[in-house]
């Protein structure tokens, strides 16, 4: 479904992503793990079209989207969930969800999907008229996820959904990610919490200072000594 080939990305003079290649198959959960500054989020931003790469190719659903603008990529069903603090915190929960459906015109479908989002995240329904800035960190994370689901994604990119959340909440969020995947959405998950990420993923890539240093099935990597030492506290 998604192939990234030999990607090189610069932030000004900083070479943030160095020759990264990865593949996400239909229906899979693939995770990119690694510490802060390893280039995980930069990779996601590049796939979403927010940053243009210096070299490399991004193929989605058989189409080269390397030069496609960000809003067109969303229309194609490749949707990123940014970190929770990127909720539109000056707008209500409902307005945030409406913006998630920005690319759609089918009013009935939008209403139905809104109900589905509220079923997944009952807390959002309770707070539907509240301004997003007044929600807790976990609720804002739920909101940005729900907002992305409103666009009917085929491939969902998640940027550190566990960041800053209490362990119990992290579990809840990951259960929902699994549920979204079970309902047919392919997922590319960027995480610092390697433990949780490997527990739900099919495949994983380990990034270090902008490079892929290891990859394999999630089970292989979870068992690997190097990964345990560096990321799983083992």
């Amino acid at each position: 479904m998604l192939q990234v080939k030999n990607l090189d990305v610069f932030y000004g003079a900083i070479h943030a992503v160095k020759d990264i290649s990865l593949e996400v198959g239909d229906g899979e959960i693939v995770t990119l793990i690694g510490s802060n500054g390893a280039g995980k989020s930069t990779t996601l931003h590049t796939i979403s079209g927010l940053i243009k790469p210096k070299n490399g190719k991004i193929i989605y659903d058989g189409t080269d989207i390397t030069e496609t603008s960000a809003h067109k990529i969303v229309e194609m069903g490749l949707v990123q969930v940014p970190e929770g603090r990127h909720a539109f915190s000056n707008m209500s929960v409902l307005e945030n969800l409406d913006l998630g459906a920005y690319t759609r015109k089918d009013k009935d479908g939008i209403e139905k999907d809104k109900e589905d989002v509220f079923k997944k995240f009952p807390r959002l329904y309770e707070r539907r008229n509240q301004i997003a800035g007044t929600l807790s960190g976990g609720e804002q994370q739920m909101l940005v996820m729900g907002r992305a689901l409103m666009s009917k994604p085929k491939l969902l990119l998640l940027d550190e959904p566990s960041m800053g959340l209490a362990p119990l909440l992290v579990k809840e969020i990951f259960n929902i990610i699994k549920e979204i995947n079970d309902q047919g959405t392919t997922i590319l998950l960027v995480e610092q919490n390697a433990n949780m990420a490997l527990s739900i993923a099919d495949k994983a890539y380990v990034l270090e200072t902008g490079r892929v240093v290891l990859n394999g099935t999630a089970a292989e990597l979870a068992a690997s000594e190097a990964v345990q030492k560096a990321y799983l506290g083992g």
Binding site: S48, H71, V74, P82
Partner: protein, 298 residues
């Protein structure tokens, strides 16, 4: 001055101030919308107001249009000019340092002013009286139909803008882009198109102000935008730049203060009063009356 005539004078200046202030509000809205969406103080905005006045002038003199068609033509023409200016001058500078874009805006301002001088000569033109002035007296106060026209048109336009921004999909997208451009792009919003739309709306409002002023003062010239542009900028800062109700309120405050100063002291002081307000606001509430103190995000 006895108490009765003081009250009367005061009320009279409120009437004058409101109609002048609603002009400032219309121009200030454009400043604040454009700042809100691309963080640029568009110093060419006052010249868009001038451009609107000239389009209105040509429409009423050359094409004998009546008020409403001339107003609409001026708004559409200036809106297009706003889109073109953004496309040619500001979009290539999207990732440039803010000071470079600011200097570009000053360049655009001079370009518009002196191009207009080239086309229309620096001579002031007499704006035709689209409405024969009628003066109403009641309770010792003087109101003319042009003041009413200005106030009513300005209020209708502001209500229209508020509706667009708060209740339409495009308006919602505008607020999203202004709040977090990257997150907006991840919603599938074409931010270039939303920025164009913002320039079009802001410029159209300034053009409306230009036509209304032309009708009110009967005189327009290529440099007419400088002072009102600066004052509307102050109005936007007073209300809190980037905040729409703030711009409306700031404009009315500026108009009222100017009218009071002209009425009770001397009209030569009114520009000084405008800048005094700016200094006071910057000293005591730099984020503006409706602004919140936010730290710059790093």
């Amino acid at each position: 001055m006895n108490m009765g005539s003081f009250t009367q004078q005061f009320l009279q200046q409120i009437i004058n101030g409101l109609s002048l202030g609603s002009i400032y509000s219309l121009i200030a809205l454009g400043y604040t919308m454009i700042y809100g969406i691309i963080k640029l103080i568009n110093f060419a905005h006052g010249d868009i107001y001038m451009l609107g006045a000239f389009i209105g002038f040509v429409a009423t003199t050359k094409f004998q249009m009546s008020f409403l068609p001339a107003l609409i033509l001026a708004m559409v023409g200036a809106g297009l000019a706003g889109i073109i200016i953004e496309r040619i001058a500001y979009r290539p500078m999207r990732n440039a340092p803010r000071i470079a874009v600011l200097i570009t805006a000053i360049g655009v301002s001079f370009f518009l002013e002196y191009t207009m001088i080239l086309i229309a000569t620096p001579q002031p033109r007499t704006f035709p009286a689209v409405f024969s002035p009628t003066v109403y007296h009641f309770a010792g106060l003087v109101v003319n139909n042009q003041q009413i026209l200005i106030l009513v048109s300005a209020l209708l336009l502001m209500a229209g803008l508020t509706y667009i921004v708060n209740h339409t999909k495009a308006g919602q997208a505008m607020r999203a882009v202004s709040f977090d451009p990257d997150a907006a792009r991840l919603m599938g919003i074409n931010i270039d198109r939303i920025i164009s739309m913002t320039f079009a709306l802001g410029s159209a409002l300034a053009a409306a102000a230009g036509v209304l002023v032309g009708i009110y003062y009967n005189s327009i010239d290529p440099l007419m935008g400088t002072m009102p542009g600066l004052k509307a900028f102050i109005a936007a800062v007073v209300g809190g730049i980037g905040i729409l109700p703030g711009a409306m309120m700031g404009g009315l405050i500026m108009g009222l203060v100017e009218a009071m100063v002209s009425g009770f002291f001397s009209s030569t002081f009114r520009d000084a009063a405008a800048f005094a307000i700016l200094i006071i606001i910057l000293l005591y509430k730099p984020s503006g009356l409706l602004g919140k103190n936010v730290k710059e995000k790093v």
